[in-house]
Symmetry: C2
Subunit: 213 residues, 2 copies
Amino acid sequence: MKKVSEPTIGRLSLYLRLLAELKETGVATVSSEELAARSGTTAAQVRKDLSLFGTFGKRGLGYDVEELESRLRDILGLEEEWPVALVGAGRIGAALFGYETFRRQGFHIEAVFDKDPAKVGQSWNGLEVQPDDAMEEVVRDRGIEIAVLAVPAGSAQAVVDRLVEAGVRGILNFAPTQLDVPSGVVVRSVDMALEMEGLSYALTHEGRSTGAA
Amino acid sequence: MKKVSEPTIGRLSLYLRLLAELKETGVATVSSEELAARSGTTAAQVRKDLSLFGTFGKRGLGYDVEELESRLRDILGLEEEWPVALVGAGRIGAALFGYETFRRQGFHIEAVFDKDPAKVGQSWNGLEVQPDDAMEEVVRDRGIEIAVLAVPAGSAQAVVDRLVEAGVRGILNFAPTQLDVPSGVVVRSVDMALEMEGLSYALTHEGRSTGAA
DNA sequence: TATTGTTTGTGAAACGATTCACAAACCCAC
DNA sequence: GTGGGTTTGTGAATCGTTTCACAAACAATA
């Protein structure tokens, strides 16, 4: 398979979400034009994105909503359930733990860790918060490959090193810091401060790009 | 001023963060090479990014940490304090409210809104959660231009319309949905499910891109 | 003051992603 | 079955960003 850019993957996720909504409302078929309108891109872009993975549409008709949805789920690796470890039981960790959208997409938080003794032992919706030093063992035993990192910036790198050592290959990072990982491990960072600064920049330098995101 | 790409702005935020750390540790001067290493990019990229806004360095020496930091803060519009409205007092709202990194960069949450009567009236660190329908008035009176949106996807667009009508020009969106805004209003979306799906894709299609983010 | 070594700033080249444009494929109506 | 209308899939063109490469500028040293 060729190389697929990150923006493309992001759009596929978006299309998937839209398809789920369309299915909900009983729509059977959708055109690239309509997917584009709903996702804020162009019809050509939609078709190009999809064409990287095969040919899913019917000329003259469009795409079958159910079929395309299932193909996209397959492409994105969402047909399987992903067990996930959550590291950091602070406010952000708590928010992520309760985030319905994760679970619905097949991401299942199976363990929560924190190094604060006051948090260890708490029951989160039936799941006990475990001490930081149980991390390696649990991750290894359960074969957890994805971790969500919600610890302070200062501890992030150390935790990452341990997670990777224990077999984690994908990390969703919420700490506002740069992470080094060995080749083969993927990090996605959600950097809220950075996004906020993007707003600040845009508002300060008035009158350029428009919205829709 | 020319057009500046979003990735560039993101990197400027990154540089700024690194400069603050360097200043902390008493470093007076830094080269594009070192900034690049710490931010996971290249020296040429660093210089190109900065060159869009002027010329800040000294050839043969590098950049003065304090000066560059202050210039970047200025470019990003972080010299002023931004009053911010937080809409949605659920778990995500709570996490954002307590997010230290926001405050440190000059973003100050001055009002919290929710439409759940059970939440209205709660005191959050001395700030009373206000009813949803007070939103327009408060935003207008305080001249709030930035809003953080932490409501369910279903209500997001309606809230956005009202915020924009009341004068908000920048929105940090946490709802997993596409938003339409008029030209002149900027939306940045933090889409955690989408990031997670990016991980899922990468892990499913083993052995391509490496890490660092 | 001249020399050496370093690092910036920036045009030009390379690369990658998006948009264009159109032939091919298909549905539907008659 | 034929013709008209629609929409896909995709090479080619365009656009934008990143990387390269090097002259210019400066510090330091003698």
